[in-house]
């Protein structure tokens, strides 16, 4: 047996197959260092932050490709924890059809899978609140574990149609749970996104989404909490134009949760506009999230009741800032924000961010 194995290794070496099978892995490092001030009606806080640093390995072998995002980020206890944000293995059949497996950013709207965890690439300091990650209070299942297919279908002089379709584990029992290895209810989520990319104006993207899932939601935060079944339907529409130094993204999202015969609806929208003058990009973003009333949440939507933002209720906010692209490796952002909560309080924020990309 050992002799056979030795022969096999020798044969591989002599044929060069081992050498051909080698693939080099590239590695990038992304992260940011911040100074944040927050003032509400009663208190003011300010902190220097080193909130995250991530490793981004990629590899390609002919039509097969791999990427991952391994994030070291600070948790609520002020300590670094490791979070694997993406693991994707893709096979590119053609421009019409690509298959991806793993943990990926769900193809909902524009922002969620256009901007990942490296802050260098996004124009503002933080993501729009409705598309923040699961543990930050976002409304969407930002990460999915499953199968993704996508492609670009030419439409002649009209332009092209881009499609994304996904089958995934879907939501966990709480908004911050990502179903990495166990799907609590075995029921899969289905997502379809269609985008029209017209020939004129070149670069314009108009898209829409349907995401359907069944959630086995925990009623309380206790580990042995009783569960209720919720049907989730997320509908979305988006528009993006990022050409000619213009940065324009606008999205709308409607999340409906049906428990028994009662349907609760949460809505969110944002618009982000910027224009780049050489290395400086002034930008502004307005956003709005409307949760059902807390009574409705208690009665009919135990899932979103545990969302980090639902506690503070509906809000409208605006941020404005400047992004300086210092080099290919460093961007500095200065930003101010104002949030008005429906409860009547206001929050003012200021932030300075150094986002790096090596």
């Amino acid at each position: 047996m050992r002799r056979i194995a030795a022969f096999a290794v020798a044969a591989l070496l002599s044929s060069g197959s081992l050498a051909e099978a080698q693939s080099s892995v590239n590695l990038n490092v992304y992260g940011d260092l911040d100074y944040v001030v927050e003032q509400n009606d009663t208190t003011t806080t300010n902190s220097f932050q080193s909130p995250r640093v991530e490793l981004f390995p990629t590899a390609t072998q002919d039509r097969l490709s791999f990427l991952a995002e391994v994030m070291f980020e600070v948790d609520e206890q002020n300590s670094f924890v490791v979070d694997v944000e993406r693991i994707e293995v893709a096979y590119l059949f053609s421009d019409y059809f690509r298959l991806r497996l793993g943990r990926f950013h769900t193809a909902i709207g524009y922002y969620n899978d256009a901007y990942h965890h490296g802050r260098y690439f996004q124009i503002a300091v933080d993501r729009p609140e409705m598309v923040r990650f699961e543990d930050e209070g976002g409304l969407i299942p930002a990460h999915s574990i499953g199968v993704h297919i996508d492609g670009l279908l030419p439409l002649g002089p009209i332009g092209a149609l881009r499609y994304d379709a996904e089958v995934a584990n879907g939501r966990g029992s709480t908004p911050d749970e990502v179903t990495n290895a166990i799907d609590p209810n075995n029921s899969k989520a289905f997502n379809l996104r269609l985008r029209l990319e017209p020939s004129f104006p070149e670069g314009l993207i108009l898209g829409g989404n349907v995401y359907v899932d069944k959630i086995n939601a925990s009623v309380t935060t206790a580990p042995d909490s009783p569960k209720v079944d919720i049907d989730e339907v997320i509908l979305g529409a988006h528009l993006a134009y990022l050409e000619n130094y213009v940065h324009l993204i606008a999205e709308y999202l409607r999340v409906a949760h049906k428990q028994g015969s009662v349907v609760t609806v949460t809505e969110g929208a944002f618009a982000e506009l910027g224009y780049t003058f050489k290395s400086v990009t002034p930008y502004a973003r307005v956003q709005l999230v409307i949760f059902p009333s807390l009574d409705e949440l208690d009665a009919a939507d135990p899932f979103f009741r545990k969302n980090a933002f639902a506690d503070r209720g509906s809000f409208a906010s605006g941020v404005g800032g400047l992004r300086f692209t210092v080099s290919d490796f460093l961007a500095v952002k200065v930003e101010g924000g104002y949030t008005r909560l429906d409860r009547g309080t206001t929050v003012k924020t200021g932030a300075l961010q150094c986002a790096f990309a090596f």
Binding site: Y30, F56, L92, S94, D95, R100, H116, G118, T325, D328
Partner: protein, 141 residues
């Protein structure tokens, strides 16, 4: 007389037309002999991920600031080199584009293109007369 004059003007025009300073090169086993600028731009920005005849696109670039990279960015993509490279990095981070292969010289571009069936590179037009085996010019308009 008028016909002769017109012919002379045409000939003069042909003679006076400047030679392109740079050319695009591909692997000879890649069948795509001619592409539109729009197709090339899509390939250079991750919108198109494969060549018309199938192989995945692999950009082969010289370092930022080199004339051939600047020509490719401004003429094919329509952006300054730095702006285009920033977009490429963003597309790689999204998973929408293969990481370009960055090499030290135009000779290395030719070597890499000869070795990779889906490779696309830009070199000075003067090199067109002495392309190595396995490398061909991509016609474009």
């Amino acid at each position: 007389m008028a016909a002769a004059l017109a012919l002379a003007v045409l000939l003069l025009g042909a003679v006076a037309r400047p030679e392109p300073a740079f050319i695009l090169v591909r692997n000879t086993s890649n069948q795509a002999e001619s592409l539109s600028r729009g197709q090339l731009k899509d390939m250079a920005t991750g919108r198109k991920k494969t060549w018309p005849h199938g192989p995945p696109v692999q950009l082969v670039l010289t370092r930022p600031g080199t004339p051939e990279l600047g020509w490719f960015a401004s003429t094919i993509v329509g952006l300054p080199g730095e702006t285009w490279l920033a977009r490429v990095r963003e597309q790689v981070f999204k998973g929408e584009m293969r990481r370009p292969l960055t090499v030290a010289s135009e000779q290395d571009v030719l070597t890499a293109v000869a070795a990779e069936v889906g490779a696309l590179g830009a070199v000075r037009a003067a090199l067109a007369r002495s392309l190595p085996a396995g490398v061909s010019v991509v016609a474009w308009k």
